[in-house]
């Protein structure tokens, strides 16, 4: 339907068995380099040689076995009809990743859009590079510019994004943040979320209600662990943010950045924490660490963790309740889109990202027991079935006959004995796929927890085949739309460069905002926070969903 399938500029073989050729970057000078992804001792690595800076050999994935499993789910990608190929300067993607805009080579439409609304932050985390240091220019697009960027994203054809993440810096330092949410809703975004420390939501009891009333759907809250040591950023405030969002009925996604030897041993506890707050926490989206700037190899090797490594840690820490076999790469859902598209004749959202970029599973609560979806649904069998039905529809098979066949055969992919009680997953799936009725899915969210992994790249493990397929995009005020791993790995030609162009000086910002204290940095009263009932209830006396001996 419409666009032809895209072929990667690094070759058709990106999803082939290892070794695989690709293109990468020199971490020192960012020169584009041919690279090879290969297996060594059961792990997957990427190696490249820069003529000036020598050889680089970096961990790509901890598990060659999981890599081999994941690559089976590479999905067809068709790009967009109206890429930002300049009429003045050609940016056809031949010099990927330096041609972003979105270029005509890009494989995947925007799935999740990001709008940076400020580079100010009320914290000064030592490892962060996103926020404006004292005296630095301030980047804060106007409401008009934000609307323009949102509209630009919506103009992607034939499918445009339905979700926007308002990010920063810390977006909640803007006093017009509620207006930004309203603008996003006016521009047709069904899903509006904040990428935040959550501290503003903790300290302002009304903020959650205000943004919810304006149309926000989720708070995407940083949460690096359940202890002071693993989460120095917002360990004390997170319970208050959760409580205020609970009162406002505003959902939260916990976002831990996982670093090996730092907080990797807290992954299971984070999931347990989320299960104890299932009425408000919708998901946990783990982000294995990406390294910024130069870092010695020994330290990188020590701290590097990727998707299979994180999944393995979770398996160990949940005592097998959430096993490696319960996780699937994101593009495994492509057959769902393909089927609905074939049934409706309308182009659908396509999660055609690279199989190494993300993985997910779903937990359903059966009483007090979390059960991964894979324990009662044959995911592979069902997706193969959907793919088959989609192809039949594309060849002209009757929709009514297909719908009937779906009704008859759906059950064979579901193990009703293992299905959580009072859950009729077959009915839910049928309604969603055939009737496009998603109401019931929304009704069971308080009994489910989505678990995701999203691994953004750095110059050491950069793989052009992944950038080509990225669907997490930033909109910029100069009209361009840039994939995440170009925007943040090459800030010198994208993020920082354009923000500098559109910034005002520190002094000028102060002049324009005489009532605001530009130097404000949050200071916590640890004793007061730790003495509160909300804090104590959050971290002590929690139910343990993964006790010894349980599987």
């Amino acid at each position: 339907m419409g666009l032809a399938e895209k072929i990667s500029r690094v070759g058709r073989g990106y999803a082939s068995a290892l070794p695989v050729k690709t293109r990468s970057l020199c971490p020192e000078c960012k020169a584009p380099l041919p690279a090879e992804i290969y297996e060594k001792s059961g792990r997957v690595r990427i190696r490249k040689t820069c003529g000036i800076h020598g050889k680089f050999d970096e961990m790509y994935w901890e598990s060659a076995k999981f890599y081999d499993f994941a690559r089976k789910f590479s999905a067809r990608s068709r790009g967009i009809e109206n890429p930002n190929v300049g009429e003045i300067i050609n940016n056809d993607g031949t010099n990927c990743p330096f041609d972003c805009g979105i270029c005509s080579n890009h494989h995947t439409h925007t799935g999740l859009s990001n709008i940076v609304v400020t580079n100010r932050c009320d914290m000064s985390c030592w490892y962060c590079f996103f926020y404006a240091k004292e005296g630095s220019p301030i980047y804060e697009p106007s409401l008009g510019q934000i609307r323009m960027m949102l509209r630009n994203l919506k103009n992607e054809k034939p499918v445009s994004t339905n979700a926007v993440q308002i990010t920063g810096g810390e977006p909640c330092v803007r006093d017009d943040i509620v207006d930004i949410v309203k603008i996003a809703k006016e521009e047709g975004y069904a899903h509006v979320q904040f990428n935040t420390t959550g501290i503003a939501f903790a300290n302002d009891a009304e903020l959650a209600k205000k943004v919810k009333d304006a149309g926000a759907t989720t708070v995407y809250m940083s949460f690096d662990g359940t202890s002071k040591k693993t989460n120095p950023k917002n360990h004390w405030e997170a319970p208050f943010a959760i409580e205020n969002c609970r009162k406002a009925k505003l959902g939260i996604v916990l976002v831990p950045t996982l670093i090996n030897s730092v907080n990797d041993n807290d992954a299971g506890n984070i999931i347990n924490f989320a299960l104890n707050n299932l009425d408000v926490i919708r998901a946990v989206n783990f982000q294995p660490v990406s390294f910024v700037g130069r870092m010695p190899k020994a330290l990188r090797e020590k701290q590097r963790i990727t998707i299979p490594g994180a999944i393995k840690k979770i398996e160990e820490q949940t005592r097998g309740v959430i096993a490696e076999s319960d996780w699937y790469p994101v593009p495994c859902v492509a057959p769902f889109s393909q089927f609905v598209e074939a049934l409706t004749g309308r182009r659908q959202y396509e999660l055609s990202i690279h199989f190494a970029c993300g993985a997910a599973t779903y937990l359903f609560m059966d009483g007090n027991r979390p059960v991964p979806i894979t324990r009662f649904i044959d995911v592979e069998g069902f997706t193969e079935f959907l793919s088959e039905k989609a192809q039949e529809l594309e060849k002209g098979k009757s929709r009514i006959a297909t719908g009937a066949e779906m009704l008859l055969k759906l059950g064979k992919f579901i193990d009703r004995k293992k299905q959580p009680k009072r859950l009729n997953i077959g009915k839910l799936l049928f309604n969603a796929l055939v009737r496009h009725d998603y109401k019931a899915l929304g009704e069971i969210h308080h009994k489910t927890l989505f678990l995701g992994m999203m691994h953004f790249m750095d110059p050491y493990n950069y793989d052009q085949a992944r950038v080509e397929r990225c669907d997490v995009h930033y909109a910029m005020p100069d009209g361009r739309i840039i994939p995440f791993c170009a925007f943040n790995v090459l800030p010198e030609i994208y993020r920082d460069k354009v923000q500098r162009q559109y910034s005002v000086s520190w002094k000028e910002w102060q002049r324009l905002h005489p009532d605001e204290n530009i130097n404000y940095k949050y200071r916590r009263d640890v004793k007061r926070l730790e003495a509160s009932e909300i804090y104590r209830n959050a971290y002590f006396g929690q139910q343990n969903f993964f006790p010894e001996g349980k599987k």
Binding site: L3, R23, C29, K30, A31, P32, L33, P34, G79, I80, E81, N82, P83, N84, V85, G86, E87, I88, I89, N90, N91, D92, G93, T94, N95, C96, F98, D99, G101, S104, N105, E140, P141, S142, G144, Q145, M148, N152, N155, E156, K157, D478, G479, R480, L490, E492, I493, K497, R500, Q501, Y502, S503, V504, L512
Partner: protein
């Protein structure tokens, strides 16, 4: 907040580049040029042996840009034209027509 566009007029500069051995060379040259804050957009075409870019005339000029292309690469025969930045931003936004390559 800076609502106005950061530039009014830019210069579109096109010049030939010789000595490129591969598409990686072209991409590396493009990256190097984009590190210059005065260069707003850039594309180096390996097969055509040329570079087209937009620069801010308040901060640099074509002579300096050409001089920044170091041996073994050589740049010459520049061709310039003035362009409104507003036009670039407008053309950069998604247009209605299909341009899928």
């Amino acid at each position: 907040m800076k609502s106005a566009l950061p530039f009014r007029k830019l210069i579109r500069l096109e010049f030939s580049v010789s000595g490129l051995k591969s598409s990686e060379d072209a991409a590396a040259l493009q990256y190097g040029l984009l590190l210059n804050d005065a260069i707003i957009r850039c594309h180096v075409d390996f097969s055509g042996g040329k570079c087209e870019l937009l620069y801010n005339p308040s901060d640099t000029n074509s002579r300096k840009i050409i001089a920044s292309v170091k041996r073994p690469l050589r740049a010459k025969a520049p061709d310039e034209a003035e362009i409104n930045y507003a036009e670039i931003v407008k053309s950069g936004f998604h247009s209605q027509g299909a341009k899928n390559g």
